[in-house]
């Protein structure tokens, strides 16, 4: 296909490198150096999408990050789909596949557009809220239909084949933006020896200089740009980052830069290369040289394809050699807009008219237009555009000097392109990210960066300094300041001489009047991406929204992926006019990260798949895997959940494991339990302060269970602590609570009792813990140790230093199953050896490995709690029926004592943990079920507590449960009812939570 809008010469494209690309299934040609947008315009593609709400055809409006319409879907395969790509920022590569994201059956002939044409009165602001609010249950259905019609792009259904990187960086000066201001700032900083990162979102440095024909030192500006970039490239202390958008400015000068490493090369990154990289930069000083975006004007039908921002027209002509039409009408409120008409004319295309809203424009560019004989219509405006899929003509009329009304008769002009310029808006986004509110400036007719606590400098157009010479100068000054602040001495930089252009005063005008009132005129778009019109903003104001932040939320202005880069100021102006206020009086809008959308891939980097979160394994993990264990995540630990034999269901496996343990012997890998080594002469006293029970008399060689509470008296962890020596203890914690408990101990030691001599260290990973449990555990252990295991020598709650399977071991006779049980602790690297020896000798005892689920069932049969399952931060030891674990006579008021004594904690009717037996023994209550005393009570029924643990017990051949019941400890034998989600009601009887061996004889044998 021919590129009908491609100029014969000019631009920064490489005409010797033709490329082909696909848009909506059709093949087109472009050149290396094109963006997708410039190539589409070269090929005369007018429609790039349908609008969000009214489904109106939309074309390319801008040439950079601010583009609201040309937001396309990219990707040649399902796996490489990328949504929300601005065609204006996507470099063309050979074989690029793109499509519009909306329009059904196609963007050219769209069905919703017919509905949208009736729009106006039918779809006011808040339309979706107002229409689809009821019934609430159908919202999901509505939402998916609305989304389909609106077309927001889609994520791939297959895994991304590319890899992404993250990198942490430090620098003295980060320069954001590679235009004239950024170039002079970076050069100044670099020459002084500062560590500089210089980032620009485009493929080459130069910024606005790439899009114009202006000269520096009398030569094309690109020569100076090339020389500077070449010099910077030669410095070791400078990192140049083209194709890198500084997307977020966070606290303490932390910035994120999104570098697109290979997006310009192919659909998939070349082998061995990361597709994108997220730089996480801590910068000592930041120079924002982010430039400005030109504002389009708001006039009737200003969204018809062919309507563009004036500067974009110049960019396409000068940078890409593309004239996006044949007959141009330019409307401007200022001198800079004239450049588009001059460039258009110089490109050999017809300028139909320059419509200047000012009565009497003066300035160098105005003169240049006159000299070229262009048709200059002053004191007038384009009040309406004709055409539907492309501009066919415009209506021009004289307007009042204040720009508020049409004052004369309308004349019609034929044109296919309308460029408009309402002045410039500084790109202040990054300066807002850390909470700094921008400040309105009447001279600039825009917001400027507000005061900030960040180490931030600004230079160039972001300050409203639009001339190249001022931008260069401000960049130099910012560079000098930054260099001085980091303690370096500046070296000399000679700025190039820029052309001086005299400009007349601009007119402050945003919204072009129409013959009809705004509400009746054809739609005048403010925000293209979210389809917000001037009339819509007026409605919002009329309905009582007075702050611009509220108007935004009601109309959705600025809520698109472009964050309203083009439309926000115009919208504020329309709101201000409707409210009869000034723009700053309506409030300021603030921008949030990210400046442009960032792919999830870049945010995730390598932290995905197996690297998403570290996994912790015990030393016996491989054995568990080989035995076909099912695993459960506990914190970062992978713990065996149960060990099914081939063909066995989970329930069958659990029944077998539970019975084998109580009948003979079972083994649990308990290595994941938190272990904290505590030493020091005050260790014992410290334990007494953080546990609720007594520790003063625990002898060396003895173990004791302890409950740990917060100052509120509520249980937060538990475990067994053993006395290894007079001043040496080993504390165990829950698997998930290990880190928290250690921090808790440190907190109290460091902040409350620093005078105590006590030291804590985590030893969780140092030890493997192999727990054998059951009536034959002693016989099994006896085969592997010389230690006297008799009950007289080695009683329940004793521990011994001995040898097991030939390696040194600490053996603790403690029990979480209620059986005779030994926890064998060996150095972690001996764990597997001892585990295998146990199985060698355990075969004759039917030694059965079990996981966390059987552990839970066995402990529930004994009524042992699990902190975090049977506690939730709102229960104290007495609620758990564990008053036996609370010392009353300890001299020091230990943590939790005062809290437990609070008025609310001593109520009789607190929820208390009890056992529950269902009347039908086969029914297992679901955990979380809420109990009621009267199942016939009207809804909402008064609830008395919930089930915390519930299992099938093979040993008891019935279900067992633990749960909270209000005043339950005094309600033994009474009934509680559990109405379930399926409508059934389960009856249960309150009982002791100790379902098996209530006297505790089995563990003492």
């Amino acid at each position: 296909m021919t590129q009908k809008n491609r100029l014969q010469s000019g631009g920064r494209i490489d005409r010797s490198k033709p490329l082909t690309f696909t848009y909506n299934g059709k093949k087109f040609n472009g050149f290396l150096g094109d963006t997708l947008a410039s190539a589409m315009l070269a090929n005369g593609i007018d429609i790039v999408g349908r609008s969000f709400k009214y489904s109106r055809p939309r074309g390319i409006v801008a040439a950079g990050a601010e583009e609201p319409n040309a937001v396309l879907q990219l990707g040649a395969t399902e796996a490489t789909q990328v949504p929300n790509v601005r065609a204006t920022q996507q470099e063309l590569f050979n074989g690029l596949v793109s499509s519009s994201t909306n329009g059904w059956p196609s963007v050219e002939t769209d069905l919703m557009g017919t509905i949208g044409k009736m729009g106006g009165s039918m779809m006011p602001p808040g339309f979706y809220y107002k229409t689809f609010m009821y019934p609430k249950s159908l919202w999901d259905t509505y939402e998916s239909m609305i989304r389909k019609a609106a077309g927001l792009g889609r994520s791939p259904l297959e895994s991304d084949p590319d890899t992404y990187d993250k990198i942490n960086q430090h620098c003295d000066v980060l320069v954001v933006g590679g235009g004239p201001a950024g170039l002079s700032a970076a050069l100044t900083a670099a020459r002084s020896g500062a560590r500089v990162i210089f980032a620009d979102e485009q493929n080459e440095f130069g910024g606005s200089l790439l899009s114009s024909k202006e000269t520096l030192n009398g030569a094309p500006a690109s020569e100076w740009v090339n020389a500077v970039v070449e010099e910077l490239r030669g410095y070791d202390n400078v990192m140049l980052l083209p194709r890198s958008t500084v997307n977020g400015y966070h606290d303490h000068n932390f910035l994120t830069i999104h570098e697109r490493c290979t997006d310009h090369i192919a659909d998939i990154a070349p082998a061995g290369q990361a597709r994108q990289r997220l730089h996480r930069v801590r910068a000592k000083w930041v120079v924002l040289a982010t430039g400005a975006h030109e504002r389009p004007l708001v006039f009737a039908n200003n969204d018809v394809p062919g309507c563009m921002v004036a500067n974009a027209v110049s960019t396409y002509i000068n940078r890409y050699g593309v004239a996006p039409g044949n007959e141009l009408v330019l409307m401007t409120t200022n001198d800079s807009g004239y450049q588009a008409a001059l460039d258009w004319h110089d490109a050999g295309r017809k300028v139909v008219a320059i419509v200047d809203t000012r009565q009497n424009p003066k300035g160098d560019r105005v003169e240049a237009s006159r000299q070229r004989g262009l048709n200059l219509i002053t004191g007038s405006a384009v009040i309406e555009v004709q055409g539907s899929k492309r501009v066919s003509g415009v209506s021009v009329a004289p307007i009042s000097a204040d720009g508020n009304k049409v004052t004369g008769s309308v004349s019609k002009l034929s044109a296919d392109t309308v460029a408009s310029s309402g002045g410039w808006s500084p790109v202040i986004h990054l300066s807002c990210h850390t909470g700094s509110r921008p400040v309105w400036n009447d001279d600039v007719v825009g917001f400027l960066p507000g005061p900030t606590v960040q180490k931030q400098l600004t230079a160039g157009a972001i300050n409203g300094s639009y001339s190249t010479s001022t931008a260069l100068f401000e960049g130099l000054n910012a560079g000098l300041k930054a260099v001085a602040e980091v303690g370096l001495s500046a070296s000399e930089v000679m700025l190039p001489k820029a052309e001086e252009v005299n400009e007349g005063a601009p007119m402050t005008l945003f919204h072009i009047p129409h013959l009809k009132p705004t509400s009746q005129a054809p739609k005048q778009f403010v925000d293209y991406q979210t389809d917000v019109t001037a009339a819509g903003i007026e409605v919002a104001c009329r309905e009582g929204y007075e702050s611009i932040e509220h108007v935004k939320r009601y109309t959705a202005m600025g809520f698109g992926t472009d964050q309203g880069k083009l439309g926000n100021i115009n919208g504020m102006a329309v709101a201000a006019k409707a409210l009869n206020k000034t723009i700053p009086e309506t409030g300021t809008t603030i921008f949030r990260p990210n400046y442009t959308p960032v792919s999830f891939g870049a945010i995730a980097g390598r932290d995905c798949g197996a690297l998403f979160d570290p996994e912790r394994y015990s030393a016996m993990h491989k054995w568990h895997v080989a035995r076909g264990a099912k695993f459960e995540d506990v914190g970062q630990w992978k713990r065996p959940w149960y060990f099914p034999k081939p063909g066995e269901s989970m329930k069958e496996a659990l029944n077998r494991e539970c019975l084998a343990t109580r009948e003979s012997v079972g083994i649990l890998d308990a290595s994941t339990l938190g272990k904290i080594d505590i030493q020091g002469k005050d260790a014992r006293e410290f334990l007494g302060r953080v546990y609720t029970n007594a520790w003063a008399k625990l002898a060396v060689g003895k173990c004791r269970y302890g409950l740990m509470c917060g100052e509120d008296g509520m249980v937060f962890d538990d475990g067994v602590t053993s006395c290894l020596g007079e001043n040496h203890f080993l504390m165990t914690t829950t698997t998930g609570g290990a880190a928290r408990v250690l921090e808790w101990l440190e907190l109290y030691h460091q902040t409350e009792w620093p005078e105590m001599e006590v030291y804590f260290n985590t030893v969780t990973d140092h030890w493997s813990t192999l727990t054998i449990s059951g009536p034959n555990s002693r016989k099994l252990l006896a085969e592997l140790t010389d230690c006297d295991l008799s009950n007289e020598n080695f009683a329940f709650m004793d521990w011994k230093q001995t040898t097991v399977a030939g390696v040194p071991a600490r053996v603790f006779r403690i029990s979480f199953t209620g059986e005779c049980s030994y926890e064998i602790n060996v150095q972690a690297n001996y764990g597997m050896h001892v585990w295998e020896k146990l199985f060698e000798h355990g075969e004759k005892f039917n030694l059965t490995p079990y996981g966390t689920e059987t552990m839970h069932i066995l402990r529930a049969e004994k009524g042992f709690i699990i902190a975090g399952q049977d506690t939730d931060g709102s229960v104290h030891p007495f609620d758990l029926g564990m008053g036996w674990c609370v010392a009353q006579k300890k001299p020091f008021s230990y943590i939790g004592k005062r809290g437990m004594a609070r008025e609310d904690c001593v109520r009789e009717d607190r929820k208390q943990l009890v056992g529950l037996k269902t009347t039908d023994p086969k029914v297992v209550l679901p955990e979380g079920a809420q109990g009621v005393l009267d199942p016939k009570a009207p809804i909402p029924m008064p609830m008395v507590g919930h089930i915390t643990s519930s299992y099938w017990s093979a040993n008891l051949d019935r279900s067992i449960a633990m749960g909270f019941v209000k005043g339950g400890l005094n309600k033994m034998g009474e009934k509680v009812f559990y109405p379930l989600a399926d409508g059934t009601v389960v009856e249960a009887e309150i009982c002791s939570p100790i379902f098996l061996d209530p006297k505790g004889e089995r563990q003492n044998v």
């Binding site: 966070h250 606290d251 303490h252 000068n253 932390f254 801590r282 850390t434 909470g435 606590v453 100052e711 509120d712 250690l742 921090e743 440190e746 907190l747 460091q750 902040t751 409350e752 620093p754 008021s893 004592k897 005062r898 809290g899 004594a901 609070r902 008025e903």
Partner: protein, 99 residues
């Protein structure tokens, strides 16, 4: 993302290494049993939520495991100073600033 100077390590480190542990200078009453429920409740639950200068307890959790204090502006997120446990801040809120 804060950049925090650990007074024990004497280095700036990234926020990821630290945990915030709430308001600083909340001393445990020396005789808890002598506290009324109201006093104990205030010790337990009542915290300042100032707009502006605030003193916070932080711990270098993935570093030296030491606790220390930070004076931070809750509005601008500036860290005005760091100081060790047992020391007093040199930057304090102007009267009327702390609510």
């Amino acid at each position: 993302m804060f950049h925090i100077y650990c007074p024990h390590c004497a280095e700036y480190r990234e926020e990821e290494e630290f945990h915030a542990s709430g308001q600083a200078h909340i001393a445990r009453p020396l005789d808890p049993e002598a506290c009324s429920d109201k006093e104990w409740g205030e010790y337990l639950y009542f915290r300042k939520n100032p707009r502006g200068i605030h003193h916070e307890l932080w711990v270098h959790a993935a570093g030296c495991r030491k606790f220390f204090n930070i004076t931070r502006d809750t509005q601008t997120y500036e860290i005005k100073e760091v100081y060790k446990i047992g020391e007093q801040p040199s930057v304090v809120a102007q009267s009327g600033n702390s609510k």
